[in-house]
């Protein structure tokens, strides 16, 4: 392994002309993706993630900045002269070619020998479990099989990086989950850098080594799935990844290594002290729904945050029950309660309840 990143963006910007006006798709991008990494670009539609990927493939040229592939400046280099391959959202298989011809297409262009092509295509079809389907046309295959052909067609070229543009979007839930596991397995097997574009945070969290959360043409946060989920650095990330309960408040006093906020009399939010948290300062705190305990009677604990509120919604999900609680602190709280104990414990709508969680689960955003 070398230390040269597989893909690197330096000061990249991309503007589109729309009705005579220049609209930024990617505002400013500095990013290095390591060799062999499973990297996800995650964000809502229009956040610039697809544009970013297309700049790697060579279908878009940056308005400013430089794109490097394995240390080589490829800005302005045609797509066919770049050692990356793409899996398209709609698969974009060649409808007039068989599976075998589809998968061989890239190697034939690269003038690889016939025997070598046969060997590599055969091996690749085995990896994606399509052996025996060589003679079929794409239209004779299911969505999941077409997906595998698209994957094989790109991977067989052993590119520096594989770019995947929401490749599981068209599949149903069951197949999607199956393919997530499979993609991860294939990536481990071939050891190629995967750049995965998705708006599905679940997908990104499950498969990625690192995730860049994008919004409005900028990276909001870059980190491991765990970091992104547990420690969202902006309000946007906290809201986009999973469900977050957000509390705005002013720090009352410090009590040892925790800061105490008192949104209402008798209630408290405890946050671990760190640089930048001082009495009188304002804080924005994110709490994940599954970290919160719901009590029907006032708990006696003192070492936890404590809020009270009224249940406005109860949704039973089998493994958990989701509550919406209108707190006196103002905001509606979402609480996921594991259905580990008896169902009789369910709180009902309109009931007054108490919410507690450990200080380390209060995550101050942007501090």
């Amino acid at each position: 392994m070398t230390t040269t990143p597989a893909i690197e963006f330096v000061g990249v910007r991309k503007d589109y002309l729309s009705h005579g006006e220049s609209v930024p798709a990617v505002r400013s991008l500095d990013l290095a993706i390591a060799q062999g990494e499973f990297f996800s670009l995650l964000g809502p539609s229009g956040c610039g993630k697809t544009t970013t990927m297309r700049m790697v493939a060579g279908f878009e040229d940056p308005s400013a900045g430089t794109v490097f592939l394995a240390g080589r400046d490829v800005t302005g280099v045609a797509p066919n002269k770049r050692d990356v391959n793409m899996v398209f959202q709609s698969y974009a298989l060649f409808p007039h070619l068989t599976v075998l011809q589809n998968v061989s297409f890239g190697l034939e262009r690269k003038k690889v020998g016939k025997d070598e092509i046969r060997r590599r295509v055969g091996a690749m079809l085995e990896i994606v479990s399509l052996t025996g389907m060589e003679k079929r046309h794409p239209r004779e295959m299911s969505g999941g099989q077409q997906q595998r052909v698209a994957l094989a067609r790109a991977l067989v070229n052993e590119p520096r990086a594989l770019l995947l543009d929401e490749p599981l979007g068209a599949l149903d839930l069951k197949l999607r989950q199956q393919m997530q596991v499979e993609l991860k397995r294939i990536q481990r097997e071939v050891g190629i850098t995967f750049v995965y574009v998705t708006h599905d945070q679940g997908e990104a969290l499950t498969m990625s080594d690192r995730i860049a959360v994008m919004n409005a043409g900028l990276i909001e946060q870059l980190g491991t799935p765990r970091e992104i989920y547990e420690k969202p650095s902006t309000r946007f990330v906290a809201g986009f990844i999973g469900t977050s309960n957000l509390i705005d408040g002013t720090v009352g006093h410090l009590d040892g290594d925790v800061a105490v906020l008192e949104p209402a009399p008798g209630e408290r939010v405890l946050v671990p002290v760190r640089d930048g948290i001082r009495p009188g300062g304002t804080l924005e705190i994110s709490v994940r729904p599954e970290k919160i305990d719901l009590h029907r009677n006032a708990p006696a604990t003192t070492g936890t945050s404590l809020l009270s509120g009224v249940v406005t919604e109860v949704v039973y999900h089998g493994t958990s029950t989701n509550y919406t609680v209108a707190t006196s602190a103002g905001a509606d709280f979402t609480v996921f309660d594991q259905n580990a104990s008896n169902a009789e414990d369910l709180a009902s709508r309109g009931e007054r309840v108490f919410l507690t969680w450990a200080p380390q689960h209060s995550y101050p955003i942007g501090v």
Partner: protein, 284 residues
């Protein structure tokens, strides 16, 4: 019961129309071609099939010429129409309907009128040749009217939309991502065209050839208005046999021969280059 009858009821008006104005005349014509007699004493069915042999032998030249003109017309049309259709399909943007409308615009003027206009443009002292002859760029004896160039030119002009539209439809249906996929898989723009765009557009070319070769080979207006004695097409022969010399049996026999030749040609063509096979051939 109603459900079973519904499809038949739906097909009834069109079916009756076809029976009355297609099947009956065809049968009449087939019978005519096997009759003997003359316009004054009337025709009697005798099963005289020799008329076929005689008319084919007599007008072999015109028959072959018609097929050759039709084939040349289709070939020129492919070359002319492909770039136009390609440009509209891939670079037309939001104006695609406008461009297609422009292609169809000449249809708003009668076929015959348009051909007469061509006659006026191509005539020896018309707007095209007169200035060139004045400038000494062309000899005084040079003329276009009456030549195969004028006839084939007229056919090409008149049938252009029938080639542009099917090719356009085929190109328009190509997912741009598929072309991008080819580029992504190391194909140069030219290779992407040759290996992906061209094979995927062949069904359109196939349809365009069908829609131009058949009517062009049996056309008589262009040869009549733009041609001369050396460009007589089979359509003109049939027309004059029917209307001038009232030789109904020969006219019908020739009409049937032309139809049979074209049908065999079309089926052979479809067989050799069936849409599915076109793709397989192109994939190699």
């Amino acid at each position: 019961m109603r459900r079973i009858l519904a499809p038949y009821l739906l097909v009834l008006p069109g079916g009756l129309w076809l029976l009355l104005f297609f099947v009956v005349p065809m049968a009449t014509m087939l019978s005519l071609s096997l009759q003997e007699g003359d316009i004054i004493n009337g025709y009697v069915f005798t099963g005289h099939w020799q008329t076929y042999v005689e008319s084919i032998q007599g007008y072999q030249t015109q028959l072959i010429r018609s097929l050759v003109y039709g084939a040349i017309t289709s070939l020129i049309l492919i070359v002319l129409s492909f770039p136009v259709a390609y440009w509209i399909a891939f670079y037309g943007g939001r104006r695609k309907p406008t461009y297609l409308f422009l292609i169809l615009l000449p249809f708003f003027v009668s076929f015959v009128l348009r051909t007469i206009s061509w006659r006026m443009i191509l005539t020896d002292d018309g707007v095209l040749l007169h200035p060139l002859k004045e400038a000494g760029l062309l000899p005084e004896s040079f003329h276009l009217l009456g030549t195969p160039v004028a006839v084939i030119g007229g056919l090409v002009y008149n049938f252009l939309p029938f080639m542009v539209l099917p090719i356009y439809v085929a190109l328009e249906r190509i997912d741009p991502r598929v072309v991008e996929a080819a580029r992504d898989l190391y194909a140069s723009p030219l290779t992407a065209f040759r290996r992906v765009i061209l094979p995927l557009s062949l069904p359109g070319v196939f349809a365009g050839v069908l829609m131009t070769f058949v009517p062009a080979s049996s056309d008589y207006v262009n040869a009549e208005l733009l041609g001369g004695t050396g460009t007589t097409m089979i359509g003109q022969v049939i027309q004059s046999k029917f209307l001038t010399s009232s030789d109904y049996p020969s006219a019908s026999a020739l009409a049937f021969t032309l139809m049979t030749v074209l049908l065999i040609g079309v089926f052979a063509y479809a067989r050799a280059l069936g849409t599915d096979d076109v793709m397989k051939v192109a994939a190699r």
